[in-house]
Amino acid sequence: MKFLQVKTLVFFSGVATLVALAMMSISILYPKPLLLVLAMSLGQGIGILSLALYLLAIALDLQSGSAFASLPESEVAPEPEEQQPGPGE
């Protein structure tokens, strides 16, 4: 479960950073008042949020002793299912 959390957080962090970079780049290429204000507020806010998401993902990964995220998906052992009581038990 944590493996998926880490991967998802890093994915969203990447997408959010791309959005932030696009906003900041547009304001550099076309420095209009509204675009500048948006880039300096919303763009940078999204950028900070995405970095926070990434740091959270790393913290989760470290908490689990780097056991999940560094492994390929196929090698991550599924969580143990609850044992069904046998017919004689």
Binding site: L21, P33, V37, L51
Partner: protein, 231 residues
């Protein structure tokens, strides 16, 4: 060959280069989805933290530098008449004369209209945010030169009228702008201003009381001229 003519251009180049590098790292991760080993984590930290930080810092400085320039001030259509006059080589207005001075150069609007005290740059930009809000709410759908919108009032004049500022403080602010360059001590200046010199230095009179032809195409003047013509 790429040529860089100013610090602003260099900063923009650094910002765009960093943005491209960060985007390349992120896209590589999103498409390849490699395992999060330590080298990948470090690379992602560079792509998600360090490089966007560089983009943000250099972009902010380049953006701030650009906001000081006349083309930026003129990018709202309400400012077009002011811009046309300032850039008219034949104009004798105060704004045009100062804009032709290479010491003012491209930043002639900012040099006269900015607050010049300790936090002048900050208060000026905060006031600029108010201008942007006013532009969106009051002027966005006005005529090509802002016709039909409310009359533009310089904010210090407005503060004086609303009694948020004493007359002395207003005079000190207005004359302080001029006195950043005009020391009021040169022999020619003293000779020309005669009895007014002491009053101007003591902020009992304002330079623009006499030198009033600042922005002849200002909307407020055109409204007044229209009313005069109607009479």
């Amino acid at each position: 060959m790429l040529q860089i003519h100013s610090t602003e251009e260099l900063l923009k180049l650094v910002a765009l280069g960093s943005a491209a590098a960060a985007a390349a790292i992120i896209l590589w991760y999103l498409f390849r989805r490699p395992h999060l080993h330590r080298p990948t984590k470090v690379l992602l930290l560079i792509g998600l933290g360090v490089l966007p930080g560089v983009v943000s810092l250099t972009g902010n400085i380049a953006g701030f530098e650009y906001t000081l320039s006349r083309p930026f001030c003129g990018s709202c259509h309400v400012m077009s008449p002011y811009l046309r006059d300032a850039e008219d080589p034949e104009s004798k207005s105060l704004a045009a004369i100062h804009s032709r001075n290479h010491r003012f150069g491209e930043n002639s609007c900012y040099n006269c209209h900015a607050d010049y005290k300790m936090f002048g740059a900050v208060t000026t930009k905060l006031n600029g945010m108010r201008h942007l809000f006013k532009y969106i709410t009051d002027y966005a759908n006005t005529g090509p030169d802002g016709e039909g919108g409310p009359t533009i009032k310089l904010y210090k004049r407005h503060d004086l009228e609303e009694k948020r500022m004493t007359e002395e403080a207003f005079n000190a602010h207005m004359n302080g702008i001029c006195m950043q360059c005009h020391s009021t001590r040169s022999a020619i200046w003293v000779e020309k201003h005669g009895d007014f010199a002491d009053g101007l230095r003591a902020f009992q009179a304002v330079c623009i009381d006499c030198h009033s032809d600042i922005h002849p195409l200002a909307l407020s003047r055109r409204v007044a001229a229209g009313k005069e013509a109607a009479k």
